[in-house]
Symmetry: C2
Subunit: 336 residues, 2 copies
DNA sequence: GTGGGCAGTGGAACTAGTTCCATAGTAGCA
DNA sequence: TGCTACTATGGAACTAGTTCCACTGCCCAC
């Protein structure tokens, strides 16, 4: 049986409260007493029970993160930022991976029961109005990463602007026939993803601003993934008058577009320019032109914000927008 | 203030124990009483405190996973398997990302204080003898994934055999000048990684078995990563008599070898055959020949084993070896 | 001298569950 | 008509910390 705080108190010949004060670095302990307690702790090889501590103090020093599709490189990079920042503050990270709509709903519902963790980070999944209400009523500190919802704090980028940035770059290179490959609208609605949708809005805005006609047949949507993007854009590239450039809503999808081009024997960028979004790790390897967003930093900032909210319950909803930038590499070029 | 079990008992006009029995689905409650309790629970919108539950029962329904270099695709895939299997059993996953030796040591030391979680999964990091002792003394249920240690349960593959498999494939294709690119020996020793080392042993065995002379200058070691592998193998390929094939200890490193070949204008596989290890997601995309190991499954099996150990403290150390297989794709070919 | 204030300390009460023992009620059976 | 056995139930004790109030000295100011 492990030693308890009472064993330590007895061994050191002091009261319960005194041991607790030593453990919590209270200044209200004389150096002599503190030493007696520390000696007893060593002798008994005492280590305080975190569970009992959480129970008594009501603080768990744990943060939950809900993330969709764990395997996506962008998600991993954000999680890495989260973990690193939490570790610095002495918090633990509990991870929930969401790959189905049912699990999305279950996760968001469960964490409303503000219990096992002091706060929650929700990544890419936008809570619906009723879910926001439940979270607020439960008083759970929440920070969204990569999305926004009325009345909840969040860290994000301007996806619409990012889409504009990408497409303006293609237009600047002389392209007029510009395609778009993004997330399936059904899937996005089911999970309540917004980034592909917003990047698509940016795509349309950039075309409109340049006076380029939007062609519905140039826009395709599929379940997020390399393979789906490959199939869809292959169709698109076999149109009688195919696009000369494609903006993919993510680097993963851009990889599918690259494959489609390879399938059809198109040279990149001579025959087809391709631009992605996120600047994940392999983008550099592939020489992919893309819009970079600070993924690691989004996790760090999300944690900073969450800990601030945990520390001050009265803090109203905060919102932070991170910078993005165009990264020009080898997959985009001026029109042949 | 949230309702407690006592409020529910009062509201339902029953005793404490009865409410607890209802919560834990004990059959020793009459249907009428059970209904009264359930009604009270609904009326008071009661939800039991997980912390209090953990505290009283001594079970946290949480498992910790210590993983080095979170961002490595193989690690992510294993974690995904872990998370998925834990979720099925109603457990939560706390993740610790290890990127420095100091943190490695700290993580392993801390989890010996068997408290916040019911068990621990340690990935790729081999505990040293003193650490094994500390873990055993603390009685913490532990399962290793992707490594072995005397007296601790584990799920792994036969890395030596994997290395043999890879190199025998190259030899079968007619190669005699076969290089090896693996992890830095210093780094591996510091973290206590073993997979690159074992795969290297397999490399040597396969060469010996075929009567091929081992050349020290064909073997290079660098900090795990694409970039380092690229630089190192570029040197190797500029030898007066360069290798015609290279076995990289991981797919990530194989990607670096591919880059090096590209840097020097070598055609793959006509001028240089390349084989990796792991079969991570991008391997298929790149058409990389590799040795596949069941990453997702290793996480699942690790959890199965851990939960079995948690359920039966007397269970001795168990060891499971998962199957591996050669996946032939486009980066290996017979000698030009 | 004496009252106020404060550093230092002890310990009861509290957190919200589980566990287990005692006991009431009741059905089955000789 | 008891005796046994078993179901159903109540509640005290327990888990291991924190929190906070009460109390003792001691110093200093009036």
């Amino acid at each position: 049986m492990a030693a308890t705080i009472r064993d330590v108190a007895r061994q050191a010949g002091v009261g319960l409260g005194t041991v607790s004060r030593v453990l919590n670095n209270s200044p209200l302990v004389s150096p002599i007493t503190r030493n007696r307690v520390l000696t007893a702790i060593t002798e008994l090889r005492y280590s305080p029970s975190q569970i009992a501590r959480s129970f008594a103090s009501g603080k768990t020093f744990t943060v939950s993160a809900i993330a969709p599709f764990f395997t996506r490189p962008s998600v991993v990079e954000r999680l890495r930022g989260i973990e690193s920042q939490l570790t610095i503050s002495g918090y633990s990270l509990v991870v929930f991976n969401v790959e189905t709509v049912a699990r999305r709903d279950a996760c968001i519902r469960n964490i409303s029961c503000h219990d096992r963790s002091d706060g929650v980070l929700i990544m890419s999944l936008t809570p619906r109005e009723d879910e926001v209400l439940a979270l607020q009523e439960a008083g759970t500190p929440v920070v969204l990463i990569d999305t926004v919802a009325e009345g909840i704090s969040g860290v994000r980028i301007d996806d619409v602007y990012g889409g504009e940035l990408a497409v303006r770059h293609l237009i600047d290179l002389g392209h007029q026939r510009i395609g778009f490959a993004g997330d399936s609208i059904d899937e996005a609605r089911a999970f309540n993803f917004t980034s592909s949708r917003d990047r698509h809005i940016g795509y349309m805005r950039a075309l409109d601003a340049a006076g380029v006609v939007r062609r519905p047949e140039y826009q395709c949507y599929g379940v997020h993934g390399r393979f789906e993007a490959r199939i869809l854009t292959r169709n698109l590239l076999q149109l009688p008058e195919p696009p000369t450039a494609i903006f993919a809503a993510s680097d993963t999808q851009a990889m599918g577009v690259l494959e489609a081009a390879r399938d059809l024997g198109l040279r990149v960028p001579a025959d087809l320019s391709i631009i992605g979004f996120d600047d994940i790790d392999v983008a550099e390897y592939l020489g992919l032109t893309t819009v970079r967003q600070p993924l690691f930093m989004s996790g760090q900032r999300g944690v900073d914000l969450l800990l601030r909210i945990i520390g001050d319950e009265n803090l109203g909803p905060q919102s932070e927008v991170l910078p993005i930038e165009l990264v020009m590499r080898g997959t985009t070029g001026s029109i042949g």
